[in-house]
Amino acid sequence: MKVSVKVNGTQYERDVEPRMLLSYFLREELGLTGTHVGCDSSSCGCCVVALDGDRAVKSCTMFAVMADGHEITTVEGLEQGAVLHPLQQGFWDQHGLQCGYCTPGMLMTSYALLKHNPDPSDTEIREAISGNLCRCTGYQNIVKAIRQEADVINAPQEKSA
């Protein structure tokens, strides 16, 4: 089955089995192994990518053929040139990762979150990432990391921090 999908700005054409999950399509057809797989029940969120810019989806709960004609952004697409995306910077600065396995999914979920809600409260952040599991960090520094990026976005129009 033919699939034509734009991933991180590049158009790809592949012929795959309909049952191929988007996560494995990205990992094995396109070699984008930043997207991880941690469960079979759509629970862990290690596989989250952005669909059409602002929709965080679990790529292991979507068939590659469903992405036909759509745009996908993966963790590999966050960095612009040699410059880290502010979210990546935030995760690094705030120690928002340990083993790194959940990190790409966490990054993509928060990437989509901030497009819809550029100034989330800590509670809203915790709710937004509650479809992504992390076993290492206890989430506290992940919340800080997302907060850091949100503060960057909001810095200009904020009167007082």
């Binding site: 029940s41 963790v75 340990q98 790194g100 396995y101 915790r126 709710e127 960090t137 506290q140």
Partner: protein, 787 residues
């Protein structure tokens, strides 16, 4: 010995992690990211029965699936002499693929190798296994009766695996009998699972040209695994190359060798191409190393003033179908002897009996030192039960029994020599942070309003850093660890260790230790672990042993280099070696201010201007055999409220004050504590691997085995005290596991404190809503009946 007061060059700094840039870019390299030419995929077939004879296995249909290359069964492995492999400590053996009968649900019975993952699973589904079901034994207390013998492969026809004991039984019994007050409770630490987000997996690549077997695997202990593979297969150890790439969390789950690795290796040898095996989440939860599963009878006696007179703990351990517990060979119950905790008890005795059941094998240390979490939970729960019996504040009771700071080094009744600590100070700091006295007032007001609010204390002591070779080995291999450091001419360098991090940040902290010792820039010290061809031999990363053991090796290898550097410095400065001093991270000449040379300059000289008649270059290797274990400790306080209508517990606050000795990187230490507390929270309230009476595994995926999300996870408040380990080269003790060891008791003690007005004294974990709701309902009914 290093102390924390003077300004430091690298140690003690919250340096950002050096490994992060690849992870945040999605450029980590986990085992499933690795693709080799002509690689095939392995899928395993599992038994739906917990106990059954295998009458026949028919692979015909599976082999007919397009893309399927081979089906392996226990019979095939028998031919290769690999149907069984030794368990972790070598006391027992375990099946790779079932031969004769299956002993637990989901046990591996066959392996299907195919061109794609999908085809492998298509084939696995079509392997027809004809079973003759047998009655399962799921309760260790049933197993103890030996009415059904599970392991007919063993000489001793009994389900009893071993008895272990330490301490003075008679004196302890006498003291208990003579005590004014006395509590006894059966406390169950439920079977749970580390469930790292990255499942286990490996790629076996037997190269027919070189005759060399390379195994990429999710291994917390690659060197030990190389030796095991060699011993098991007979392949010379030089022909085995283990590469442990980035690991997506381990928490003890990635210490043992699992059938998938072995079947993949056999398949690669047979088919002469690389074979990849990647676990599904269900396989991870149902077949790989579980943790805990200890039924502990805790007995404490005390005088009426609350001074404990004796402690006795008798444990029944459920080891599942094979004795695959991950414990040092001479310590079948791990370091459970730490069960006297932070307290100075005049008498103590503990014994343990382990049994086979029709459950998955394991008994790994789920983010804890060997069996220390079970022990810590038992004593911290026990102290609260005693406080309740005495009508004494839980804090006061602990203060009266703490080992005093002037008692260190302290030899416990069960044989450990505690290195250092100041338990009173650590507890006081936690009490201050949480505002203990105000909280108790607040609680009184809540109770007046009929609300259920609880405050729970846990003042634990861990024993980590296995360990001194006179005591600790795994199948004879002593539990030292190692470091190799090479300083390049320009003052940068490479650091290798026998450990393997899974998120702990060794690439950063190891560089900090070496940089501190040598006055070099940690940014220019690359750290490499996990490749058995390049790293020095070590026992790996688990049981909080990396910093206590490998950390020591790193410091001492650095000091070896510093000694050589001093000679070079003297040569370059043209002074006598005795006149050269190491001061402010550079070499200076006694009494000649300003005459200094940096380590960077020395490094250059080591290659360009070596000391005549001496070995050029600047590198060192050190194998560190620690003189003792280290004893991290802490004081944790949880505040909870319980909804009597639903049984739901809300954690209002949690303060953790940890003493892990000298801190190498405060940011990383805090991160470790956040993570461990979160796992402790999960264990206390939601995690359990449960089997129904028919031996069915009831928690086979992440919708049934719960990992808390950011919404349920409490906000953690952390603090620290520092009592350096006197025997550790940099005074560090290790921290990764303290929060998981110490926190379950704090949560449970808090909930029990909340329920105490109803007369409820103990409930086993996990404290599910229904369990708590039921206890409240029954207690109220009982009250009503007596009223």
């Amino acid at each position: 010995m290093t102390t924390t007061d003077k300004p430091r060059h690298a140690i003690g700094l919250s340096m950002k992690r050096k490994e992060d840039p690849r992870f945040i870019r999605g450029r980590g390299r986990y085992v499933d990211d690795i693709v080799l030419p002509n690689m095939l995929h392995l899928a395993l077939v599992h038994s739906p029965y917990p106990h059954a004879r295998i009458k026949n296995i028919d692979s015909t249909a599976a082999l007919a699936v397009p893309g399927v290359k081979a089906v392996l069964t226990g019979k095939d492995l028998e031919a290769a002499g690999l149907a069984w492999i030794p368990t972790f400590h070598g006391y027992d053996k375990q099946m790779v693929l079932a031969v004769g009968k299956v002993l637990y649900q989901y046990q591996e019975v066959a392996g299907v190798v195919a061109e794609t993952r999908e085809a492998a699973h298509d084939g696995a589904e079509l392997v027809e296994v004809d079973y003759e079901p047998l009655d399962p034994v799921v309760d260790p207390f049933e197993a103890r009766k030996d009415t059904i013998i599970l392991r007919d492969d063993r000489e001793n026809k009994t389900n009893h695996i071993y008895h272990w004991e330490v301490g003075a039984r008679e004196e302890t019994d006498k003291a208990l009998a003579a005590s004014d007050v006395h509590i006894k409770e059966r406390i169950y630490f439920q079977r749970c699972h580390p469930a790292p987000l990255e499942p286990c997996g490996g790629i076996a690549d037997m190269n027919p040209a070189t005759g060399r077997l390379t195994i990429y695997m999710t291994s917390q202990a690659p060197h030990a695994h190389r030796t095991v593979v060699s011993l098991v297969t007979g392949i010379p150890e030089d022909k085995i190359h283990i590469i442990s790439p980035d690991i997506g969390g381990g928490f003890g789950n990635k210490v043992p060798v699992y059938p998938g690795y072995v079947v993949a290796a056999v398949a690669s040898v047979v088919l002469k191409v690389p074979v990849k095996w990647i676990e599904t989440r269900t396989e991870n939860l149902t077949t790989t190393g579980f943790a805990r599963d200890y039924h502990m009878d805790v007995e404490i006696g005390a005088d009426k003033d609350g001074k404990v007179t004796a402690l006795k703990v008798g444990t029944v351990a459920d080891h599942g179908a094979f004795d695959a517990a991950a414990d040092p060979t001479k310590y079948p119950a791990g370091l459970f002897g730490i069960v006297t905790g932070s307290y100075d008890f005049p008498h103590a005795f503990t014994e343990l009996d382990a049994y086979f059941t029709n459950k998955a094998p394991g008994g790994v240390a789920y983010r804890c030192s060997f069996r220390v979490t079970e022990a810590s939970y038992a004593i911290e729960r026990g102290m609260d039960l005693l406080a309740g019996r005495l009508g004494m504040d839980a804090v006061e009771l602990r203060r009266r029994n703490f080992v005093g700071k002037d008692q260190f080094p302290y030899r416990s009744q069960l044989g450990f020599v505690y290195d250092s600590g100041d338990y009173h100070a650590t507890l006081d700091k936690a009490l201050e942070a949480i505002g203990y006295d105000t909280l108790r007032k607040e609680q009184a007001e809540c109770r007046a309003r009929g609300e259920l609010m609880g405050i729970g204390i846990s003042t634990f002591t861990e024993v980590v850093g296995a360990g001194p070779s006179k005591h600790f080995d795994i199948m004879g291999i002593k539990m030292f660890d190692s470091a190799e450091i090479r300083i390049h001419p320009t003052g940068s360098g490479i650091v290798r260790a026998g450990t393997r991090h899974q998120g702990q940040g060794h690439e950063t902290t190891w560089a900090q230790i070496v940089a501190e010792e040598l006055g070099l820039d940690p940014q220019n010290l690359i750290v490499e672990e996990g490749d058995t061809d390049t790293a020095p031999y070590g026992l790996g990363t688990y049981a909080s042993r990396s910093t206590p053991v490998a950390g020591g090796a790193l410091a001492l290898a650095s000091r070896k280099i510093r000694e050589k550097a001093r000679k070079i410095a003297a040569h370059v400065l043209e002074v006598a070696e005795d006149d050269v001093e190491w001061e402010n991270y550079a070499f200076t000449v006694k009494g000649v201010p300003g005459k200094t040379i940096t380590m960077k300059e020395v490094a250059f000289a080591a290659y360009t201007n070596p000391v005549p008649g001496t070995e050029p270059g600047l590198e060192a290797t050190f194998y560190y055999d620690p003189p003792n274990m280290t004893f991290p400790n802490g004081a944790y306080i949880a505040v909870v409220s319980v909804d009597p209508e639903t049984g739901e517990t809300k954690v209002k606050r949690f303060v953790a004050v940890d003493d892990c000795g000298v801190v190498i990187n405060p940011m990383i230490v805090e991160g470790q504590i956040h993570g461990g507390l979160t796992e402790g929270y999960a264990i206390a309230f939601m995690q359990e691997i449960r089997y129904d009476e028919g031996g069915n595994h009831m928690n086979t995926n992440f919708t049934e085995y719960l990992v808390p999300t950011a919404v349920e996870t409490p906000v953690w408040e952390t603090g620290s005290t520092v009592t350096p380990s006197p025997h550790h080269p940099i005074g560090a003790k290790g921290v990764g596991e303290s929060p998981n060891v110490g926190s379950p008791a704090a949560f449970v003690n808090a909930v029990m404190d909340a329920l105490s007005p109803l007369g409820i004294t103990h409930l086993d974990m996990p404290l599910t809503r229904e369990k708590v709701w039921r206890a409240i309902r029954d207690a109220k009914a009982a009250k009503a009946a007596t009223a």
